[in-house]
Symmetry: C2
Subunit: 268 residues, 2 copies
Amino acid sequence: MIVVKVGGSEGIDYDAFCADIAQLVKAGKQLIVVHGGSSQTNAVAEALGHPPQFVTSPSGYTSRLTDRKTLEIFEMVYCGKMNKMIVEKLQALGVNAVGLSGIDGGLWRGKRKSAIRVVENGRKRIIRNNFTGKVEAVNTDLLTMLLEGGYVPVLTPPAISYENEAINVDGDRAAGATAIALKANTLVILSNVPGVLKNFPDEESLITDVPSSQIDHVSEHYAEGRMRIKLLGSKEAIEGGVGRVILGDARQADCVSTALAGKGTTIS
Amino acid sequence: MIVVKVGGSEGIDYDAFCADIAQLVKAGKQLIVVHGGSSQTNAVAEALGHPPQFVTSPSGYTSRLTDRKTLEIFEMVYCGKMNKMIVEKLQALGVNAVGLSGIDGGLWRGKRKSAIRVVENGRKRIIRNNFTGKVEAVNTDLLTMLLEGGYVPVLTPPAISYENEAINVDGDRAAGATAIALKANTLVILSNVPGVLKNFPDEESLITDVPSSQIDHVSEHYAEGRMRIKLLGSKEAIEGGVGRVILGDARQADCVSTALAGKGTTIS
C-alpha cells in the first residue's frame, strides 16, 4: 500500500501526475491519492472578494486562517474543482477513481481548534472562530471497501470534527494519518520543489536522506515555509509505523515513480 | 428503496430537508439523496465574472449553456459547496452520508451532446463545445456497496461521458435514472413549488394526481420552465419501472415525509 500526496501549489503538472498514477495502478500497485489545492483556493478567494489570510503559530508553522466563509471557498476548490479534475483525468486514463473529502463517511475525524495562537508583528494573540484541526482517526473500513471494490480513492481536506463541523486540516499530515491507519509501507509527498533543500531555493542543494532521528534537526536548520509541515507529517508517519516517506518533485513526468525510485528526500 | 432529489433553487430549507432525511433513515428507510445547486451556481458564476447563460431547445426545454469554464464553476458549487454542505449537515444528524458526483467511480455514465440545437429570438442555431448530456447507465455496484456498508449516498451532477469528460446533466432525470437502476419503488423530487400548478404561480391550483398516460398532456398545457423537465424525468422513471413519483415542496419542515404521504403531485 502506497499513499501519494500531491500538493496544490503552482507548477504542478497534474496530467503527468495522473498518467504516472495510472501506470502504477496498471502495474498492480495499491494506491491512495491525497491532494491539495492551496494556489487555486487563493485565486478563487481573491476573485470572490474574500482574500486568503495566513497566520504563523508560535512554533513557526504557517497555516490558512479559516473562517466559515473561507471554509466554503476551500470546499469549492478542494472538493469541487481539484478533486473532480483529478478524478476525471484518472477516469480518462482507465483508473476507476472515487473522490472523497474527509467529511464523507466521517473519513478523517479530528479535534477542531477553534481558538488558535498566532504571532503577528512579534506579538502573540488568539484568533477565534477558526475552522481548523488535525486528523486523529481514519475510517479505514470505507477505504478498504473501496480498494477491494477496485476503486482508487482520491482524498481531499477538509476533515470533520467530533462535533461534525467541517475543518481545514493539513493535507500532508492527513496523508500521513491515512498511511499510518492503512499500515502503508510508503508515503510519497510531492510538491513544487525537489525535496528538502539545504540552501533554499537552490535546487542543487537537495538533502537526499534524512534518518528519522534527524528530522527535527533538519526541519529547524534547513526547512522553509511549507516544508516544515511536510517534515512534521513525515515524522508523524514514521513514528506511526510507515516504512519510509519520500518528499519528491511533482513538476515532472513520472513524478511518482521517480520518487518511489528514491529521487527526492527519503526519510526512514 | 427511495430516491429523493432536492433542488437547488432559492427558498429551499436544507436544514429541514436533512432533518427529515435523518428521521427517515433512523426509521429504517433505505434512501439515496440527489441534489441540485443552480441558484448558488448562478451566484458564484456572476461573482467570478462568467455569468450564467441559459438556452432553450426547439422542444422548449431550458438548460444551462455549459462551456468548460462553466463546468468548472458548476463542479465547484455542486460537488464542493452544496454536496459537502448536505453531507456535513447529515453527519451532524447522525447519518453516515457519503457525497459523490456522477464522475466518481463512473457513477453516472452517458453520451455527451457537444453540439446542441437552441432557439434564440425565434431562430434556430447550433452551439458547440457544450459539456452536457444525459445519464444512460448507473454504477449500481458502487451504490449497493455503500448502502450495504451503512452509508447514505448523496449524489450530484456532473456525470461522465463515454469519452470520460465531465458533463452537466439534469439532476431530476439523473435521479430518475438512479431510481430505475436501483429498482426503487418511489422517487421524490422536491423543489421550491408545491408540485405541478394548473395556473402557475397560483399555489392553490396544485394538480394532485397525474396518471402516467396524462404526463405529456399536463406538461404541454400546465407546466412552466423547470417543471417540464421534472415531468420528463418523472415519465422516464415511471416507464423505467419506478412505482410512483412525487413532486413536492422543499420549503417546509418534514418535506420528504410530507411528500411520501402524498402531498404534492403524485405521478403513477
